[in-house]
C-alpha cells in the first residue's frame, strides 16, 4: 500500500522535503512506517525515534494500523499561540 508522508517546520528542513510517497506492506503500523523512514539513513536518522504522528489529521499512536492512501504527518513539537 502507499502512504503519503508529510513533514513540517524543522522536520521539513532536516529532510529537505515536505512530502514523500512511502510503500508499505499491507497491515503495516505507524511504527513500521517510522522504521521504514529511518532505514533510509542520512537525515532520516536525525528525526526523533518516536515523533508525534497524525494519521489523516488525527494524532495517533505508533500501534495504529495504516491503510492504503493514508496521509501520515510527522508533527514536531508545536508552538502556536
Amino acid at each position: 500500500m502507499e502512504i503519503r508522508a508529510l513533514f513540517f517546520a524543522s522536520y521539513k528542513e532536516i529532510l529537505g522535503t515536505e512530502e514523500l510517497r512511502v510503500d508499505l506492506p499491507s497491515g503495516a503500523t505507524v511504527a513500521d512506517f517510522l522504521e521504514e523512514l529511518r532505514s533510509r539513513g542520512g537525515a532520516f536518522t536525525v528525526l526523533p525515534e518516536i515523533p508525534a504522528v497524525a494519521v489523516n489529521m488525527a494524532y495517533s499512536d505508533p500501534s495504529l494500523a495504516l491503510s492504503d492512501g493514508d496521509e501520515v504527518a510527522l508533527i514536531p513539537p508545536v508552538a502556536g499561540g
Partner: protein, 153 residues
C-alpha cells in the same frame, strides 16, 4: 456565521471586529485574548517570526478546540483566529473572542482555548534574531490527545 467561528488565516487579524462578532444582547461579559509577537524571547532580541502550519489539520483542530470549549462552558459565542506566515513584532498571531451571560464562563473558555492551542495546534514558530539568524522555537509535544481516527474509507 457558524458558531463557534474558527479560522487559520494569512492576513492580519482584526481583534476588535472579532470581539464585536461574538456579542449578543443576552451576554453580560465579552472577552478578547490576543497573542502578540514580542520583541524578545529567552533573552534574545526578536525581529520577527514565521509560522509554519499543517493547514488542513490545524483548521480541524482549531474547530475541535472551540467545540470542546463550547461543551465545557455551555456557550457558543466563540471566535478563534490564528494567523500563519510572516509576522513582525506587534502583530497579532492569535485572537480569541468569547461572549457569555456571565464572566466565569468567558474566562474559562478563553483560557481553555489558548492552552489547548499551545498543546496541540499543528503550528510552528521560527523566530528571527538580528539580520539572518533564525531558529524554530522549542515547542510542546502533543500528548494525551485522544487517539481518534478520521477515516477516509
Amino acid at each position: 456565521m457558524t458558531v463557534p467561528f474558527t479560522r487559520i488565516v494569512k492576513d492580519p487579524i482584526d481583534p476588535a471586529g472579532l470581539l464585536a462578532s461574538v456579542g449578543s444582547d443576552a451576554d453580560g461579559a465579552s472577552m478578547l485574548f490576543t497573542g502578540v509577537v514580542r520583541n524578545h524571547n529567552q533573552g534574545r532580541v526578536v525581529g520577527g517570526v514565521r509560522y509554519d502550519v499543517y493547514e488542513e489539520m490545524a483548521t480541524g483542530i482549531l474547530a475541535q478546540i472551540a467545540e470542546e470549549a463550547k461543551q465545557l462552558v455551555g456557550i457558543d459565542h466563540i471566535a478563534v483566529v490564528h494567523r500563519v506566515g510572516e509576522l513582525t513584532v506587534g502583530d497579532v498571531s492569535v485572537a480569541i473572542a468569547v461572549s457569555s451571560p456571565h464572566r466565569a464562563e468567558a474566562f474559562e473558555a478563553c483560557r481553555f482555548i489558548i492552552e489547548e492551542i499551545k498543546k496541540r495546534l499543528p503550528v510552528w514558530k521560527k523566530e528571527r534574531y538580528g539580520d539572518s539568524v533564525e531558529e524554530w522555537v522549542e515547542g510542546i509535544t502533543p500528548v494525551g490527545v485522544p487517539t481518534s481516527r478520521v477515516g477516509r474509507s
